[in-house]
């Protein structure tokens, strides 16, 4: 139940401002793809176009194609709501719904669109999703407590459980560890390794060691200067990007000479 993503000649705009220029990239199913690059290079913006979250901001739009196993996400008649229910997203800061219990947080996506499920099915889904996010053992005795009472790392894993409960094709992660301590970060990275057995995972990260640890392929984005659009500089196997990049800019960035 995982699908590949092929992006063709994608331009991303905020109003008239071109934020990301001419990106073409092929993201394999059941693999982890990392986007790295300096701040403001458009990697998060680009990530948000992959589940049509970009257009939530007023004036934001894209040109080009994003194909999910061949189906264009931006084709005529495609409902962004359907796209988002198939491509899950985990955000920079953990964002469980504060007014819902842990259990209801996991079920939040499933209960959308008035889908009805029995209590038994719901219980099983809550357990399997929390197991899948390595959180079950920590919260199984307090499923009715609010999700906001968990630690930051636990909240982030709750958000991952919420995302996988709807059985998406792809999971997008926008710097999922940047607000977490090293131990929670490790727990999330372990989880990402397990998730790729079932899902296509795309992760944006500021942390190059993290990209090197978790990803199969890495894309390096860069920006020529303030006000210029971000571009995809190089995309390849993670090992090659870090040890043997073909572009000078990539080499400078991964070796810490700028950025």
């Amino acid at each position: 139940m995982s699908k590949r993503i092929d992006v063709k000649d994608l331009n991303v705009y905020y109003g008239d401002f071109l934020a990301v220029e001419d990106v073409s990239i092929n993201i394999e199913a059941k693999s982890v793809t990392a986007f790295i690059g300096p701040s403001g290079c458009g990697k998060s913006t680009f990530l948000r176009t992959l589940n049509r979250m970009h257009e939530v901001l007023p004036g934001a739009r894209v040109e080009g194609e994003v194909l999910l196993d061949g189906d264009n996400l931006y084709g005529p008649g495609v409902d962004p709501v359907t796209v988002r229910s198939q491509i899950g997203m985990v955000f920079q800061r953990p964002n469980p719904f504060p007014t819902m219990s842990i259990r209801d947080n996991v079920l939040a996506g499933v209960k959308l669109n008035n889908k009805k499920i029995s209590k038994g099915e719901a219980d099983a889904l809550v357990e399997s999703s929390l197991q899948g996010a390595n959180l079950w053992n920590e919260v199984k005795d307090r499923l009715e407590k609010p999700g906001s009472g968990l630690s930051g790392g636990q909240q982030q894993r709750l958000c991952i459980a919420r995302a996988i409960a709807v059985e998406p094709q792809v999971i997008l992660m926008d710097e999922p560890c940047s607000a977490l301590d090293p131990i929670s970060t490790l727990a999330i990275e372990d989880l990402i390794n397990e998730l790729k057995d079932q899902y296509t995972v795309v992760i944006v990260t500021h942390n190059m060691q993290q990209a090197a640890r978790v990803s199969d392929k890495t894309a390096f984005f860069n920006i020529a200067g303030t006000g210029k659009p971000g571009k995809l500089i190089e995309f390849g196997n993670t090992q090659n990007i870090f040890s043997n990049p073909t572009q000078k800019a990539t080499e400078d960035y991964v070796s810490g000479r700028f950025g």
Binding site: N51, M53, V56, P58, V81, T82, R84, S85, Q86, G88, M89, F91, R93, N95, P96, F97, P98, T99, M100, S101, A108, G109, L112, N113, P146, S148, G149, C159, R162, A163, V166
Partner: protein, 310 residues
Amino acid sequence: MTATPLSSSQGAGRAGDKIFSGAALAAGCIILAVLFGVALFLVVQAIPALTAPAAEIQGGAGFFAYIWPIVIGTLIAAVIALVIATPIAIGVALFISHFAPRGLAAGLGYVVDLLAAIPSVIYGAWGAAFLAREISPAYNWLAENMGWLPIFQGPASATGKTILTAGIVLSVMVLPIITSLSREIFLQTPKLHEEAALALGATRWEMIKMAVLPFARPGIISAIMLGLGRALGETMAVALVLSSGALTASLITSGNQTIAAEIALNFPEASGLKVSTLIAAGLVLFLITLAVNMIARWIISRHKEFSGAN
């Protein structure tokens, strides 16, 4: 090198600190003193009416028999106002905060705020001179077709000056308060939670149900309570619109009265025990408002754990 001794105080900064904390303390005390003063005045002035022989109170059956019909009348008018105003206000607030294009939202918000600036006597005049006349055919229809319900029992008032008309006018008056407070709360919903809902595949309405309304719930309750406070205490509009009389179940005949309008209409010509009776009525209104506020706080605190404040 001479270190500053720990025990020395640096004059000017400390003095400013003391003056500020003193001023803040005084402001806090004044509020309490004013509230206590008003309550004390109401109680002291009301005692003669509460202790007088039943026959001397207006109506001749004691203070309780005098007050309870107008307490019920006050509550009926306020409840009608809230039942009409709350859904409209929340709808308008949601439209302004989450649906309207930016330019329209600003204009609409301004118009709603403008509604709050209209003096209540103007609402009263509008209600009495225009709304009551225009709405009386509807009352006739209700009396004919729904008359089996006690609240729509005929014969309908020919002038339209009924408690239902008063409630409708009150609802227009509380609408801006509830709308602008709700709108402010809706706009404060964290983007984080709205995006969480959208990323799960929620439609706009589902996002509002999932992220906006739960976050805004305590704020909506506060807004409704403030609206209720205004509806309970509103005097001029009710005094002008309502053709008052004895307590009746029917909302579309003349009759019923509210505490505030009762006080306003009778106070200028009152003397002696009558003044005391009206002040006792004011005390009752004060207690109702107090109780409403305490219930609202209790409702809000009951869900504190899930409020998102932690």
